[in-house]
């Protein structure tokens, strides 16, 4: 195997050398939970396989050529490996750092070769016009009355692909007497770039968002996107672009769960469908929200408030929930693999016997609904949409 120039001693990867070594030698205690391994059943496409790529690279036994790079990017960074790891090894972080090296060496996979330029140019991952970011939200924003002020960080996928989630979220907040302020100069949170290894571009975006939040004077930030919440809370400090000191970031389910009593008073209408007395729903835990931010109970607490709604859990749920396949730019790099993972999750949803699939992430919604087939076409709603319907 050909070698590559040795990484500098200060390389962040070296700080995790002990972990990547141990992961590469593991008896594969988490392999069964890795969504990409479950889809491919290849030991190379597995947490241990990726740790081995990192170790071989660190030991100058492999260069970051096409196949090793593919193996590193065939990962959704969902964190399922970490959830099954008794010592709690941070393999996803190691893979992120290895991807940084890939980008530094200009070896990005084809699907994301210009991701940083796209986001830099358009301020979003979809190449949509920046000025239309909040176009569909104008009517609902105009109807707001004054109340407690929060920033609602909308995020690219909600803004451009699923504005119905934003509309619902703003409606729910308004009913609670909360006014949602949009940052007109909001840009992509940078999460997809951090996950893909484009750290520098992510840092530039983070600076813009931090400045916008600082200027607003509001110190409570809500998101409907778990990826945005994770970026603001956890990635920005790592990028040396922390939010103003007193700022608190919540995923909206956390914020609303704290106001359960108030919500309960507003909930009067049953949300059942087709005249049945109760609707069985199943809840898909988004990876960023669950395993990364530890938010498992708030969405369930909100579901429990809803009259006529009965929660039926997935077989793999909470910290062992399976990824939807949308994580860490996989749909861009390996769309077929991402689709395969989505189909499995949809099949698992059907197995629950529920008639409605609920989640709290626009990316999960985007990915899962785009891969529904006639046999797995269970209606999908974001939890905000379900709440908004119940509050009408």
């Amino acid at each position: 195997m050909s070698g590559s120039p040795p990484p500098s001693s200060s390389d962040a990867l070296d700080q995790f050398a002990k972990v990547s070594r141990l992961c590469s030698l593991c008896a594969r205690m988490c392999r069964h939970a890795c969504p990409t391994h479950v889809a491919t059943r290849s030991d190379a496409c597995s947490p241990v396989g990726r740790a081995l790529v990192v170790e071989l690279y660190r030991g100058h036994k492999t260069a970051l050529t096409e196949t090793p790079v593919d193996r590193l990017y065939q990962c959704t960074l969902c964190g399922a490996c970490k959830a099954w790891c008794k010592p709690g090894h941070e393999l996803p972080r190691i893979i992120e750092l290895a991807r940084e090296r890939v980008i530094q060496e200009h070896r990005a996979p084809l699907g994301i070769i210009d991701l940083d330029q796209t986001v830099s140019k358009h301020n979003n991952v979809y190449s949509e016009p920046h000025e239309k970011r909040f176009a569909s939200l104008a009517p609902v924003l105009e109807q707001q009355h004054s109340g407690d002020n929060v920033i609602y960080f909308v995020g690219c996928t909600t803004a451009y692909r699923h504005p119905e989630i934003a509309t619902a979220a703003i409606h729910v907040l308004n009913r609670l007497g909360v006014t949602a302020h949009i940052l007109q100069n909001e840009v992509c949170c940078g999460s997809p770039l951090v996950r893909a290894g484009y750290t520098e571009t992510a840092r530039t975006l983070a600076r813009q968002n931090v400045e916008a939040i600082a200027t607003s004077g509001i110190r409570t930030v809500l998101t409907t996107c778990p990826g945005c919440a994770r970026a603001l809370k956890h990635d920005y400090p790592k990028l040396n672009t922390p939010l103003p000191g007193s700022t608190t970031v919540f995923h909206i389910t956390e914020f609303l769960a704290k106001r359960r009593r108030q919500l309960q008073r507003l909930l009067t209408s049953p949300t059942t469908t087709q005249g049945s007395t109760s609707t069985a729903v199943t809840y898909h835990d988004p990876c960023h929200l669950g395993r990364e931010l530890g938010v498992y109970n708030p969405p369930r607490q909100l579901l429990q408030l809803l009259p006529g709604i009965r929660l039926v859990e997935f077989q793999n749920t909470r910290d062992h929930a399976d990824c939807c396949g949308a994580g860490a730019v996989l749909p861009k790099t390996f769309p077929q693999l991402a689709a395969e993972i989505a189909h499995r999750r949809l099949d698992d949803a059907a197995q629950t016997g529920a008639s409605l699939l609920i989640s709290s992430c626009p990316n999960c919604k985007q990915h899962l609904t785009s891969h529904q087939t006639p046999s797995s076409a269970m209606p999908f709603l974001d939890l905000m949409e379900l709440l908004a319907r119940a509050l009408k």
Partner: protein, 492 residues
């Protein structure tokens, strides 16, 4: 290291044509990923970034026909084929020591049928044990096969390596759980044994393949016995003044016809480790961990009988906590750590078994021989039978360098197995042979027995393509090139 030469590109194209390009890889990084199983010696080497032995090709069959195609090509070209499913073996049985093709069965993971009238389930060989138990448990069943490797080991491997799970005292060893098998022979022919509870129509052919570690054929489908999930599971621990007293109590369990789900008797060294958080045991004391798992009525009866036997033997009841703690944390030692895989460290587990008449003697002789080489040991006895049981002798030590650690590792194994053999024990109870114990096969079976196995191998696989060198079979046909990764198998 490949000891055979074949045109990889041409063979790859041929296989791709038959089974599809997505099911074949010759990418170097993928080949390195298949250069290992869970054999500690191989992991010690991989820790030094030794990336051999590598296969030339990896093939993921999805049907039996795919395997037949590949074996016919391999036979015609004399290409070694190493079958692997979970890849969790600890003896090097899935290492492609002579290059060739790795046949990864994990894409053959279908559940073919659940017979709730006969209480059997039929599955393909690449299904992981964990996946099977997930499927069964939501339907109220279990196979009861619960090895510590259950997250990473597959059903085909359970049979190929003659596996035993930690609850085997109740549910049986895997050879007892298997009802029938489908096997692809080295020439591509398909063998199916009948799905019947038992037969006396001559020898039981399926047992020829159970434990053959892929040297006689490739197991592709299995029908397994299942049981209802237990109505009640309870835990108990007792502290005995010494090992012998504990052993005598266990034997009395069997004399009273008790079949507990778990019986684990720890020696004084492992007792200190097991009881660490609960109690500081007196010198020489040995803890017995038990699990009762049955109907509520039976569990109650088992508890009463066991408690009477243990208390009559002078054991101190410790309540359920030590045993429950072990159960809840039983996978911990399976994760790699700097203790067992740090540079210069060496560790492994010898899994031997003997009749009660020899069991304690074997333990003391092994311990003495191994500790003389400067390693620490701790042991437990489990997988008990009416006539004997097995011992897990865990050793851990260090040496000046990783290379020295690997050499010392081999010496420790050698003296440990010699002592076990001299004491009348079998040299493997459940971990199998692989490369590690391959040189010991003639010792275990004797010249006549081993010659018989060699003759069977020669008949079934005249070109010695299937997992060559494993179990020590076929080495005459192809002089061993396995040495670099077979250091644990120093000649006895």
């Amino acid at each position: 290291m490949s000891s055979t030469s074949f045109n990889v590109r041409r063979v790859r194209r041929e296989i791709e044509h038959l089974i599809g390009g997505d099911n074949v890889s010759d990418a170097e990084i993928d080949r390195v990923c298949y250069s290992r199983d869970a054999w500690p010696l191989r992991l010690m080497q991989l820790g030094r970034l030794v990336t051999k032995p590598r296969p030339d090709l990896i093939v993921w069959p999805t049907t039996v026909e795919h395997i037949q195609h590949v074996l016919r090509i391999a036979n015609a070209e004399h290409i070694p084929v190493t079958p692997v499913s979970g890849g969790s073996g600890v003896c090097g049985g899935a290492l492609p020591t002579r290059g060739g093709i790795i046949l990864d069965l994990k894409r053959m993971n279908r559940i073919c049928g659940l017979d709730e009238e006969s209480y059997t389930v039929t599955v393909e060989a690449g299904l992981l044990g964990y996946e099977l138990e997930q499927y069964l448990s939501v339907r109220g069943y279990t196979t009861g096969h619960a090895p510590s490797s259950i997250f990473s080991s597959a059903v085909g491997g359970f049979a190929a390596a003659r596996s035993a799970g930690v609850l085997s005292s109740k549910y049986g060893k895997f050879e007892e759980i298997v009802v029938s098998l489908e096997v692809v022979l080295p020439n591509g022919e398909l063998l199916r044994t009948k799905t019947v509870p038992r037969s006396s129509m001559g020898p039981d052919l399926k047992q020829l393949f159970i434990g053959s570690e892929g040297t006689f054929g490739i197991i592709t489908e299995l029908t397994l016995r299942i049981c209802p999930l237990p109505e009640s599971t309870q835990f108990a621990s007792f502290l005995f003044p010494d090992l012998h007293t504990g052993m005598e109590a266990v034997i009395r369990f069997f004399r009273r016809d008790l079949r507990l789900a778990l019986i684990r008797l720890y020696d004084e060294n492992e007792t200190r480790f097991v009881l660490g958080r609960f109690k500081s045991p007196p010198e020489g004391a040995c803890v017995l961990n038990l699990i009762y798992s049955a109907t509520k009525k039976l569990v109650s009866l088992e508890r009463r009988t066991v408690t009477r036997i243990c208390e009559a033997a002078g054991a101190e009841p410790l309540g359920p906590k030590p045993s429950k703690h072990w159960w809840d944390n039983r996978f911990d030692l399976y994760y790699p750590s700097s203790i067992n895989l740090g540079p210069g460290m060496l560790y492994d587990v010898l899994d031997v078994a003997a009749s009660y008449a020899n069991l304690e003697t074997m333990y003391w002789r092994m311990r003495e021989a191994m500790e003389k080489l400067g390693v620490s040991t701790m042991s437990h006895f489990s997988h008990f039978y009416p006539d004997g049981g097995n011992i897990y002798v865990i050793f851990i030590g260090h040496a000046g360098s990783s290379e020295e650690a690997e050499a010392k590792y081999s010496r420790v194994w050698k003296v440990g197995l010699e002592a076990a053999h001299r004491a009348g024990g079998t040299l493997s109870h459940q971990h199998g042979v692989g490369l590690l114990k391959a040189p010991w096969m003639p010792v275990e079976h004797g010249p006549v027995g081993f010659a018989l196995l060699e003759a069977i191998k020669q008949y079934l696989d005249p070109h010695n393509i299937l997992n060559p060198g494993k179990l020590g079979l076929g080495s005459k046909a192809s002089p061993s090139t396995d040495t670099p990764t077979a250091q644990g198998g120093d000649s006895p």
